[in-house]
Amino acid sequence: MSLRDVLGFAALALRGHRVRTGMSLLGVAIGVAAVVTLTALGEGARLYVVGQFASIGTNLVIVVPGKTETTGGMPGMGGVPNDLTLEDARAVLRGVAEVEKAVPFVIGTETLAFQERRRQVAVFGSTSDALEVRRLTVAGGRFLPPLEWERTSPVTVLGRTAAGELFPGRDPVGEIVRVGDWRMRVIGVLAPRGQQLGIDMDDVAIVTVATAMKMLNRRSLFRLLLQVRTHADLDRTKDRVVRLIKERHGEEDVTAITQDAVLGAFTSILGALTLALAGIASVSLAVAGVGIMNVMLVSVSERTREIGLLKALGAERRQILLAFLAEAVLISSAGGLLGLAVGWLAVRGLVLLYPALPASPPPWAVVAAFSLSVAVGAVFGVLPARRATRLDPVAALAGR
């Protein structure tokens, strides 16, 4: 009995019960579609995060003033919090050869006003190098001038949204706005940038770092971004920077994070999430398998006489087993194919709805989902098929 004959016989048997076959096939299709869609979502989230990090450069060491924010003891007792200052930043730039650029950041919220129009925006204090290190582009005018870091300057660069809201239909470059209590001249507008690590870079007012520290009344930097010359030096640079600041502060009170470490953490978290989603979706495949088993058991008991006949005609047990297994596998693999198609459509729909999310099922998930659907038929088909082969031919012919 050739494979073609086995499949042909099984397909004909299934065609006799279109609705029942269709329903159990649908069960598998839903399971496979769920695996494809959910893993696509997980993978999309991962790619989104990777993209976010890539958008701020990969050769970065981020220095965070650890102890100023998380001092544990009673106020005034022990562990005097040290600020991460512009002097620290300069010392790092001078003292660590691998550091190509050091970009201090201060961040806060202020009211941006022009005539009667007001808007709460993020105030971003930085230096001229932020343009390169944070991968920003200027759409009109220019970016912050390269000044000494300690100098304040009454100039600001606006994000796309901020500029559009205050100056609808106009070019704001050259206008005087108020940022908090400070009068400032708009010298440039950023090109649309979107979210960058949780900050909407379209809704900001960028000022020089010294200005921001005065305006927001900060003594410490929010972050110090260090651009390292070569990727290979990243970890060594991180250690040297921490040691240098420790020497200056007398204690280790900053945390340095490399981009890779953060990215690695996110990737593994989201990878686990994707796996978990795939696992949950697989449960629905198992449920679909139970459905197939049920349909096949019904089929076996309905076709008892036929099985008796097949035995009388000289069909071997193995052949009867194969014929019924083939039916189960046909249902499940057809369901698998349908599920892949439905999943693909669902993912396309998601991408249309949320273009920012690069949702796409990872190849392993597609392969696994389909193989799993075939396997589900084979596994859950065994019990009904074995029941068919074990029927006593005399009883089966009599329909018992």
């Binding site: 009995m1 050739s2 004959d5 016989f9 004909l12 048997a13 065609r15 006799g16 006489r305 036929e306 008796g308 006949l309 097949l310 035995k311 009388a312 005609l313 000289g314 069909a315 071997e316 047990r317 193995r318 052949q319 031919p393 005399v394 012919l397």
Partner: protein, 241 residues
């Protein structure tokens, strides 16, 4: 061709042993036409199932073409059924979703005969039973007599040595029944050993030999002129206490 020696078969019905066959000895020669008669529960169907290797005796020896088939395993029995034995049933047992031609092809599918040859042989068998024009009809589009003729074509398509028919005319009107019997007798005349289980004296009378069973034992053997006597014994057995 067939030698039965001391064949017994006991079923367990609700904890009670029921002796369906007790010590049946019989020899059936090649090319014979034998009818097995008997009242319900006489064991004639059980005997037919044992002859067809669908059931095994609890005791005794069943030699088919010189082989002790009672000792064969399940797989070997399938092959014996496939190549040596053909079955015709009272309720035809055609596969409803398959056409007449596909039903006839079915034994060849399991025998691994490739599709082209299958089609050819099935078509010629349908022609032999006069149903070639009905080849693409499904069973529900065929009359009872036509269905039984398809079943006969299917039973003989692998050229068995032994054809077992269980009440082959039991579900047919007289005319179709006669047609079916004529086909069976033609095949018998061509050398096929034919064993028919029947209630119907008219069917039994056409056989060359009759075996009457009662309570699992052979109570009468008749051939030639004695068939009529056997049939009468049966009638007495059915009407008697």
């Amino acid at each position: 061709m067939i030698r039965l020696k001391g064949i017994s078969r006991t079923f367990d019905v609700g904890g009670e042993p029921v002796h369906a066959l007790t010590d049946v000895d019989e020899t059936i020669g090649a090319g014979e036409h034998l009818a097995i008669m008997g009242p319900s529960g006489s064991g004639k169907s059980t005997l037919l199932h044992i002859l067809g290797c669908l059931d095994r005796p609890d005791r005794g020896v069943y030699e088919l073409l010189g082989r002790d088939v009672a000792r064969l395993d399940e797989g070997e029995l399938s092959l014996v059924r496939r190549h040596t034995i053909g079955f015709v049933f009272q309720f035809f047992h055609l596969v409803p979703r398959l056409t007449a031609l596909e039903n006839v092809e079915l034994p060849m599918v399991f025998a691994g005969i490739e599709a082209g040859e299958r089609r050819e042989r099935a078509t010629s068998r349908l022609r032999a039973v006069g149903l070639e024009p009905r080849a693409t009809h499904r069973p529900d589009q065929l009359s009872g007599g036509e269905r039984q003729r398809v079943a006969i074509a299917r039973a003989t398509v692998l050229d068995p040595k032994l054809l077992l028919a269980d009440e082959p005319t039991g579900n047919l009107d007289t005319a179709s029944g006669r047609q079916v019997l004529e086909i069976l007798e033609q095949m018998n005349a061509a050398g096929l050993t034919l064993v028919v289980v029947t209630h119907d004296p008219a069917v039994a009378r056409r056989a060359r030999r009759v075996l009457v069973l009662k309570d699992g034992r052979v109570v009468h053997r008749g051939d030639g002129a004695h068939i009529q006597a056997a049939v009468e014994i049966l009638a007495a057995a059915e009407n008697g206490p």
